[in-house]
């Protein structure tokens, strides 16, 4: 058992210890909760210190009696980079939760689930064995269910938890079948070997990556599985930060990056990915503009931003996708924690109850502004560089330099730039409605959150500000996340911004900002608003396509059961009884009548026999 596996197990152990000691002592639970991800972070840093590696660190996992448990790990540059991000965000979320969940009676179980969630995500990140990957993947689904349903006294929290679980589970069915196909076709459960073997065979690559894509769309909340994510806002804000930044949604994109050679061998799947990404990107951003809840704006923004990563993967640039994954993780965790701080102080998440909080909450204001600027993609924040890298990747694909067709590149490029406009629009609207204007009555007497809550915000603001510098050296990140020193960079697109895309996105941001300014003033509903507010009508579509037909079938099955099968069974009984009641009138105790009947029957029988014999 080596360092990567210990890194996965420590938060899991912390989860169980936290559950054991948490009931007795709340500070002990908090200490254990922070210690778990922090210890994992230390191990991740120590693994980084062993760089440069010529090859990934491959480990067969448990030895001895535990040998049959799938626990092989493969740690390469990509895995350790994402693991570092996961541990950082998880640690900060745990610290923040101490303050945010101060009055929550179920804090011990909550923090234990967050630790377990982190452990599951780390398992997905470092898994070298496909079965190990699936275990981490499924535990993550379980934890999301438990954490979204944290406030299970509320009806909407219960429904959101079930919805998140079921919707992602639909995708997971495809994921598991895909993994089984992959194992069956390549006769190995080790991910690097399986991916290599699958990439050599286009049929296997297409089938397996297509099926795995279903699970990815579910976890990463892409169209048509996106509708669970906004409802998941029923969970506490730190959980949202965790789900939207470090775990869950990142897992989907990460798995594609991990299996990337196989996806590159299946251009059809990449084209489907690009179309889905374009739908999710623009659709979710448009929905975010009309939301009236601070967390829902951010949730739809996550769907839109994840679509950028999926689009980057679809146009052949893993580096751009991972770059955006990391920078998005930092600024989106920051945004959710800041939104949580606002909600914590004001006691409402509705944008109508917010406004004019600038002076009351200066630290939250400053950090959230940084986060929103990064989201919009303003120079020189992380979001600017990572979004530029996605645009450049799309531009390269549009020039026909990648495996996908040129029209796919054009589509992604145009939609991505339009989405930049819409992103600026909802970000500006959110910022104006939260921080400026008159202060509504619920926001009276609001003051800054305690340090245990604003320090994580500050800590996340630092990478949000500085992370983009990584792109200044074009080869830095691609070299860093390469699996081996000898491996050629997959989709070798430089991450340094280019003038054309910069110019386009600056114009897009400016247009979006002006539109956002107008959108924030407008209170009246306008055309298309109900449609957008419902999440592009996907919930309605599911209602008509799945729920209603299902209920229809159920209703008719019940009717058939009750009126046909049930009546047939009851009819056999009542029919027999009725026949018996009719027949008993013949039994009058008159022996002579019996005998004459018997004799008549005998004569008839004899006549029949004689006639039969004669003919």
């Amino acid at each position: 058992m080596t360092a990567p596996l210990v890194m996965v197990l420590l938060p899991a152990v912390a989860a169980f210890v936290g559950l054991l000691v948490g009931g007795a002592s709340r500070p002990a639970a908090a200490a254990v909760a922070v210690a778990g991800p922090l210890a994992a972070l230390v191990i991740a840093v120590s693994l980084v210190a062993q760089r440069p590696w010529d090859d990934p660190i491959v480990d067969t996992g448990f030895g001895g009696a535990l040998q049959p448990l799938p626990s092989a790990t493969v740690v390469d540059g990509l895995a350790i980079t994402v693991a570092l991000m996961v541990c950082t965000v998880a640690t900060l979320v745990q610290v923040y939760s101490i303050g945010y969940m101060k009055h929550e009676p179920r804090y011990p179980s909550y923090s234990a689930f967050v630790s377990l969630f982190t452990a599951a995500m780390l398992a997905v990140v470092v898994a070298g064995d496909l079965v190990f990957l699936v275990i981490g993947w499924e535990v993550m689904g379980l934890c999301s269910y438990l954490l979204i349903g944290q406030n299970w006294e509320r009806e909407e929290a219960r429904q959101a938890a079930v919805k998140a679980f079921l919707v992602t589970k639909v995708g997971d069915i495809g994921f598991i079948i895909g993994v089984v196909v992959l194992i069956g076709a390549t006769a190995t459960t080790m991910i690097p070997q399986a991916v290599q073997a699958a990439a050599a065979d286009p049929t296997v690559a297409t089938v397996a990556s297509g099926l795995i894509l279903l699970g990815v769309l579910g976890k990463s909340a892409q169209f048509p599985f996106h509708d669970w994510l906004p409802d998941a806002m029923a969970g506490p804000s730190p959980v949202s930060a965790l789900i939207h930044a470090a775990t869950m949604v990142a897992a989907g994109v990460y798995v594609v990056a991990r299996f990337y050679p196989m996806f590159l061998a299946a251009p059809g799947v990449l084209t489907v990915m690009a179309i889905i990404a374009c739908l999710s990107m623009l659709g979710a951003a448009a929905i975010a503009v009309v939301q009236t809840d601070i967390k829902r704006v951010l949730a739809w923004s996550t769907v839109s931003q994840l679509a950028y990563m999926v689009a980057a993967l679809a146009v052949g640039s893993r580096d751009a996708a991972v770059f955006h994954l990391l920078s998005h993780a930092f600024f989106k965790a920051l945004l959710f924690l800041a939104a949580g701080a606002v909600i914590h102080s004001v006691g409402s998440s509705s944008l109508r109850d917010l406004g004019g909080l600038r002076r009351a909450m200066p630290v939250t204001f400053a950090t959230m502004t940084i986060g929103l600027l990064a989201l919009v993609g303003v120079f020189p924040l992380a979001g600017f560089f990572s979004k530029e890298s996605v645009l450049i990747a799309a531009e390269h694909a549009a020039n026909g330099d990648e495996v996908v067709a040129a029209w796919v590149g054009w589509m992604v490029l145009v939609v991505a730039i339009v989405t930049v406009t819409v992103t600026a629009m909802y970000a500006v609207r959110l910022w104006l409605l939260t921080w400026t204007g008159p202060r509504p009555s619920p926001a009276k007497g609001v003051h800054e959150v305690p340090p245990v809550m604003y320090l994580p915000l500050v800590a996340l603001a630092v990478p949000t500000l500085l992370f983009g510098a990584l792109a200044l050296d074009a080869d830095a990140l691609p070299t860093w996340i390469k699996a081996t020193a000898t491996e050629p960079s997959v989709g070798a697109v430089a991450l340094t911004p280019e003038l054309v895309t910069i110019a386009l996105s600056v114009i897009a941001v400016l247009v979006g900002a002006i539109l956002g300014l107008r959108a924030s003033r407008r209170q009246e509903p306008d055309l298309g608003r109900p449609f957008l507010a419902n999440g592009l009508g996907v919930d309605t579509a599911y209602d008509w396509l799945v729920v209603r037909p299902f209920l229809f079938v159920v209703r008719w099955t019940t009717r058939f059961d009750r009126h046909v099968i049930g009546r047939a069974v009851a009819g056999v009984g009542s029919g027999t009884t009725g026949a018996a009641e009719q027949l008993q009138h013949n039994y009058r105790g008159d022996v002579q009548r019996y005998v004459s009947t018997a004799l008549t029957a005998l004569i008839v029988a004899v006549v029949i026999v004689l006639v039969t014999v004669a003919t």
């Binding site: 008993q584 009138h585 039994y587 105790g589 002579q592 005998v595």
Partner: protein
């Protein structure tokens, strides 16, 4: 003697017995009708026995059995009728309908 004559006698006895069994109300007459039927059968048994002339004389043996059974039956039957008469003062069999189904 032709086989036809005893068989005609047999059928006549059996038919008279059957008629009596079905239409008589008096239980003693019903019992007598049963005797007539049995003896009709006996006549045909003996007639066929003579006709076939088997070494084992199965027809005659069976006739002896039937006579024995008939004797026992008439003894039992008369005892039952005696009890019936003591209990009800009548032996009309269409009034002895205690074993009928439905409401008494």
């Amino acid at each position: 003697m032709h086989l036809c004559l005893p068989l005609l006698l047999s059928v006549g006895l059996f038919g008279i017995g059957t008629y009596g069994l079905l239409v008589r109300r008096n239980a003693i007459l019903v019992l007598m009708s049963v005797e007539l039927m049995l003896n009709g059968v006996n006549v045909s048994l003996v007639a066929f026995d003579v006709y076939w002339a088997e070494a084992l004389r199965a027809g005659q043996s069976l006739a002896i059995f039937v006579i024995t059974i008939a004797a026992a039956e008439i003894g039992l039957g008369l005892a039952i009728l005696l009890l019936l008469y003591r209990m009800r003062g009548t032996i009309a069999i269409d009034e002895a309908t205690d074993l009928r189904e439905g409401s008494p």
